[in-house]
């Protein structure tokens, strides 16, 4: 055997290089094509999406939960009896809880009566985004505060940062608490934070958020605040509107008509 130490390593190196070369795989779908990326032409595009909730309409229909039910069903939101584990995307709270800074005695009784519809405010200056260590949540260019559940590590910093309680944590596996799973939308798993995503999956196919569509009384209006002819702008021009905790500087983009 005439193979010396040097020759042995050379041979070993060659064999290793050959093996690695043979297993190299072709790269596919790098995400950039020759031309501009095709976008579904029917997607809704906006510069600053916002939601306007007409509390006066909601007050006229106590007990109506059409928007909440539609959202819960479509987004596979579990109904967990234990309030410590509950998952909320759109829900109701008493007026005083929704607007703690507006709490005042002798307020016009009808204003303080009846629950207020709450959802993620899709803030212009979202504190949840600032604190997320993995960029699992971020503000899209159209204003949607989006989540990538694939990337959420469940640290719950965002929940601590959100002043509106809009985020929920999956303490338990949610699937057993979903009566009818909608196969077109993922569920979440234990250890992931979730919240309203302004139905970005519907915006992508040219539809408004489901709660807007589900309301039988048109209490919810969705639109682009950057478009001065949008119905949301008209409503805000004509009616008195309030927002939740505006003094915090988060610039919430859900407006309530009183």
């Amino acid at each position: 055997m005439s193979l010396d130490r040097r020759g042995f390593f050379k041979l070993a190196g060659l064999i290793a290089a050959g093996t690695a070369g043979a297993t190299a795989l072709p790269a596919i779908d790098q995400g950039h094509q020759a031309g501009p990326e095709p976008v579904p032409s029917h997607a809704l595009h906006g510069k600053r999406w916002a939601m306007v909730v007409d509390l006066a309409v909601c007050r006229q229909h106590p007990g109506c939960h059409a928007c909440i039910d539609a959202c819960n069903t479509a987004h596979n939101i579990p109904q967990i009896p234990d309030p410590r584990h509950e998952i909320k995307w759109i829900w109701e709270e008493p007026f005083d809880n929704a607007f703690p800074s507006k709490k005042t005695p002798f307020i016009k009784p009808e204003l303080a009566a009846g629950p207020v519809l709450l959802l993620c405010n899709h803030c212009d200056n979202p504190p949840c985004v600032r604190v997320c260590p993995t960029q699992a949540t971020w503000k899209r260019e159209d204003g949607v505060v989006m989540m990538d559940w694939h990337r959420c590590i469940g640290c719950r910093y965002c929940m601590a940062a959100c002043p509106y309680g809009s985020r929920s944590f999956n303490w338990v596996d949610p699937r057993p608490y979903i009566t009818h799973i909608n196969p077109d939308f993922p569920t979440r798993e234990r250890g992931v934070v979730e919240k309203c995503d302004l139905c970005q999956e519907r915006l992508a196919i040219g539809k408004p958020p489901l709660c807007v569509e589900a309301c039988p009384y048109q209490a919810l209006t969705f639109g682009d605040l950057a478009d001065e002819h949008a119905p949301v702008r008209k409503l805000l021009d004509e009616r008195i509107s309030i927002r939740r905790k505006p003094s915090l500087g988060t610039e919430p983009q859900v407006y309530y008509l009183v």
Partner: protein, 128 residues
Amino acid sequence: MYDAGKIVPGLVLFLAVVTFPFWLNVANGTSSAAPKLELPKGYTRCVEATPVMRATHMELLNRWRDLAVRHANRVFTNSNGQRYVRSLTGTCLGCHRDKKQFCDRCHGYMGVTPYCWNCHVAPKGGAQ
């Protein structure tokens, strides 16, 4: 090389012991028992050619995930210029309706457990 008389037989013996399971499979005729996948009926081709999909579907899906979720970039143009929506549940599972007879067979054989299904809902399979 010193002591080649001991080292070379030693190496041969070592290789024989390490590769014993493979030889045993060859002897039993089970070495080529690759999983048999049930392809969706009525479809002839996937979004890319079969060898590409077989080797790199996991990379493709990771790409699709990031582009669709993080960049709202949902239209995929394949190497033939055909366009598909980047969607696991919409596009992939639209044809591959039986996870047990397709995904699971290979994943089980390879001993991998992708966690796609912790959240994404597998179709009931069979029907359609």
